[in-house]
């Protein structure tokens, strides 16, 4: 994900307070690999959703997305499913931080949900910090602090320290 | 011609004067029992297959939740709720998480001379109080619950004549593992294992339950010991008066298919290697093989009573188990749990680093609590060590006495308990 990129993707609409027990229920967290957990993502809320997510889709949610447990499998699974970015009115603190740690682009923007329908395309302009709906509605969002942007571009904290510790790719 | 105690019980239950081995009888049942591993199959048959479903004797039908308590999956809870609903609907007795099924039956219900049928293979435990106890499957159980009786082939009896006295650090558990090592896990198929002889005067109810319970692992239909003064004292202690004519004894001129003789002075601490109960080895031999262990378990209907907990506490007192070893202790019933707290045993276990869990089948059942991962090694006072019994198909279970389990957890490898001079001798 480069700094000034412009990309678009299919919208998936989620409500307020989507907690991390919904994103990945506890009983699947001892599976040895993130890949194996993906098919259970969101199962308590929408059991059919995980199987229908395609690479490049965009999650659009209400307030307090990712509240609850600090389980980092939640953002890791969302990234593994190929979600390009998560746009929510507000994020729970630990989820937001874990998302950055995993290089998952998370954008806070209010009032988007009323202007998009599930399945519609949405364009994200990281240069102008703009969200553009198929209906032509343009919504701005706050600039992501450069320190956090670096993390996302580096692909997350692991890549960041790999470089720092001189680990050969 | 005289009859054995088992033949007398079956004759009485079938309303016959006398019975012979091989004869088929239709026996009236005094107690029926089923647990959360088997009941849902019976309830399904009762509700969907039977044309005229009704429960013959609800107040003699006991439902016990003990195998997966507290429930580890939603499936288990659904199955357990079927059981709870049925017991409530038909007025059967229900124990919900109060302890292991056979322990509760002996503690609260079964009397000498009675006939007990249960959907659990360790029902021979009832022989400790001079009753006939045999295990059946869910369909048999359902039929028995509806008709109140069951067809049984009268088994020939093998007599185990016991003399002498167990030495310090040696327990009834070591004796029965030695016997099964001798006769093999099919050594008593379709037969009764009757234990008797002068040694019995020094074997209390706990020891007798250990012997009769594990008879199932030699394939026996039932295990039994003629009731005596020790049994009547035990029954009085739990508020049950029993008439003398229920204290059946084998006639002096009864016929035994075979008689085995055991001198208890010669018994050594014994274990069963994975993956068979008859795969016997002396603990002193295993000690030399430096077998590292991951987990120890003290509990089960065979070896989870206050007597075992006293033996384990005597060894663990003031010491600590190896840090990377898990020792799980499950009192066999609520009564044992309360007694262990009052006698300060629980505190000793907690100081030693053990886990003291709720009264249930626990690691012996191996499907809910204390489940082993691949490659892990368990030493257990449970009833079975079959492949994968306590979790992963690639895990290993050694069976042994509570003393051996406690000693092994102190050393992190299988160890002979006698060096801890088990002050708690019998």
């Amino acid at each position: 994900m480069k700094k000034n990129e412009v990309f678009s993707g299919r919208v998936i609409l989620l409500p307020d307070d989507v907690d991390t027990d919904i994103i990945i229920p506890t009983q699947y967290m001892t599976l040895s690999a993130i890949k194996e957990m993906c098919r259970y993502a969101f199962s308590p809320l929408r059991p059919e959703l995980a199987a229908n997510i395609c690479r490049g889709d965009i999650l659009v949610a209400g307030k307090n997305f990712g509240c609850g447990s600090s389980r980092e499998q939640a953002p890791e699974i969302i990234r593994e499913l190929g979600i390009a970015c998560v746009i929510a009115e507000s994020f729970a603190r630990i989820f937001y931080r874990n998302a950055l740690t995993n290089g998952l682009l998370v954008i806070e923007a209010a009032g988007l949900a009323e202007h998009v329908k599930e399945g519609e395309s949405l364009t994200v302009d990281m240069k102008e910090n703009l969200l553009i709906t198929t209906g032509g509605k343009r919504l701005g969002f706050a600039q992501i602090p450069s320190r956090l942007m670096e993390m996302i571009e580096a692909g997350g904290l692991v890549e960041y320290y790999k470089e720092l510790n001189g680990v050969k790719p | 011609m005289g009859m054995t105690i088992t033949e007398k019980i079956l004759a009485r239950a079938a309303g016959e004067q006398n019975v012979r081995p091989g004869q088929i009888v239709n026996a009236r049942i005094d107690w029926l029992m089923t647990n959360d591993a088997t009941t849902h199959v019976s309830v399904d048959l009762f509700k969907h297959k039977l044309k005229h479903p009704r429960v013959f004797a609800p107040n003699n039908t006991v439902f016990i939740l003990d195998h997966n308590v507290p429930s580890e999956t939603v499936n288990t809870t659904r199955v357990q709720n079927i059981m709870r609903g049925f017991a409530g609907e038909h007025g059967c007795i229900l124990y919900d998480g109060e302890g292991v099924c056979h322990q509760l039956m002996v503690e609260h219900h079964v009397n000498p001379g009675q006939l007990v049928i249960a959907a659990d293979s360790h029902t021979p435990t009832m022989g400790a109080v001079g009753a006939f106890g045999a295990g059946v499957g869910s369909t048999d159980f359902t039929a028995a619950m509806v008709t109140g009786s069951i067809w049984l082939k009268v088994p020939p009896t093998l007599r185990f004549e016991l003399k002498g006295r167990l030495r310090p650090g040696v327990y009834a558990r070591d004796l029965i593992l030695t016997i099964i090592g001798d006769i093999g896990s099919d050594g008593a198929i379709y037969k009764t294992m009757e234990f008797g002889g002068p040694a019995l005067s020094a074997l209390d109810i706990d020891d007798r339950m250990v012997l009769c319970n594990l008879a199932a692992e030699a394939g026996a239909k039932n295990g039994i010991i003629a009731p005596d003064e020790i049994v009547s004292r035990f029954l009085a202690g739990s508020g049950r008066a029993v008439s003398a004519q229920d204290f059946l004894q084998s006639d002096h001129d009864c016929t035994y298919e075979k008689v085995y003789h055991y001198d208890l002075d010669k018994i050594e601490p014994t274990a069963a290697r994975p993956h068979f109960v008859h795969n016997r080895a002396e603990v002193s031999v295993l000690e030399k093989e430096n077998i590292r262990i991951d987990q120890g378990f003290i509990g089960s209907c065979n070896n989870g009573r206050i007597e075992e907990l006293r033996v384990a506490a005597a060894i663990l007192k003031g010491k600590k188990i190896k840090p990377e070893v898990r020792l799980i202790i499950s009192p066999a019933s609520r009564q044992v749990q309360l007694a262990a707290m009052r006698e300060g045993l629980t505190d000793i276990f907690l100081q030693a680093g053990a886990m003291v869990v709720n009264p249930n089948c626990s690691v012996c059942w191996g499907a809910c609590q204390g489940v082993l991962g691949p490659g892990e090694i368990l030493i257990s006072t449970g009833t079975r060590n079959f492949k994968g019994r306590a979790g992963s198909p690639d895990s290993f279970v050694y069976l042994a006495s509570a003393a051996t389990v406690a000693a092994s957890c102190l050393e992190g490898k299988i160890a002979d308990p006698r060096k801890y001079d088990g002050k708690e001798t019998k």
């Binding site: 307070d17 506890t26 307090n64 | 939603v74």
Partner: protein, 427 residues
Amino acid sequence: MKHTLFEKILMRHTGRSAITPGEIIETAVDRVMIHDFFTPFCFAKFEEMGFTRVWDPEKIVLVYDHLVPTSFVSDSRHHKIGDEFARKHGITRVHRADGVCHQLMPELGYVTPGQIVLGTDSHSVTYGAVGALGTGIGYTEMAAVLGTGKIWLKAVPTIRVEINGTLAPGVYSKDIILQVLKDLGADGASYKVLEFGGGTIRNMSQEGRFTLSNMSVESGAKAGLIEPDSKTLEYCKKYISPAGLKGLAADDNAPYEKRLEYRAEELQPLVACPYNVDNVKPVKAIAGKKIDQVFLGSCTNGRLEDLGIAAGIVKGGKIHPNVRFLVVPASRDIYREAIRLGYIETLVQAGAIVNHPSCGLCAGRSNGVLTNGECIVSTNNRNFYGRMGDDRVEIYLASPATAAASALEGKITPPRAEADGTSIDLQ
């Protein structure tokens, strides 16, 4: 410049004489805790990042509590990986079956007032009850902390929660935090710190205070701090001297973004209803709802005082036949002390199923999971979809007193049934 307790702790660690919300600082960490659920993930990231040794083995604590005793074949792998990492890096503080991580950390002195302590669990905020900055982070971030001993933190505004007066009988610290969650909402303290104070807090036992800090995260809070005092000193006496508390107090009229004021007398027994922690109602409002199970335990309400309150209520009574009453003491020492005081015997005689200290059902994987259509009153801290088995199990979060009263009646019941005058007395 006036500062909150949170800002004072950051200043103490960075040597700065002032700090304002929004500033990002980097600070050393006094202690970290990793529990068994995340050992495989955390340590794999640590290796992947190319770290070869931990920054300081003395400052790392491993606690096995979510998967203890094991329920599935895959569980012990998490413990084996933890043991291996501890052996390789000389970590000696490994607790394999001693109780819940957030109870052990303060109980064993691994957290003391004024420290910064991180855990791979969102309820690490519990440590705020002894005046320490405790907060939860993800396992990748923890891997980086293991390698560097440092973390970046954003200074955030503080919300002051002031409670004065005396709680009515039957009303406990759990009811206070449920009231706060009702007023703030599940994200009311997101990117903020809660600071609890006032007369009611000063009179509250140290154990009661842990419940407040523990659930501050349920409103999104980064930390839930309580000014350490003589009670904290008594609780941590084996590990700190009075000097350790110097300077650990907010300045008078420190800059709070918001103040919540409560009169303790006006509070009543509350319950968080499915499926959100801020969906809080008076217990009276839903009294009478049939229940199938009660869980007494967790790092929120599994302490000695909680077991004592429940024992007082069930003493001489019998748990309702339709209810499974599961009790899990929060730590080994609490379990021993509760046995010595007779609490466990009373609970078992009433029909409770008492288990070895661990997260128990609160971990939400085994240990008493329920099916859709079933209903449970529980003293832990979360009631989301699927948190205790099937995805629509109804979980009602309440105090140990409400839980015990409900277990007796077989339906949701307030601890002091004022309505019909029958009072289920406490001790």
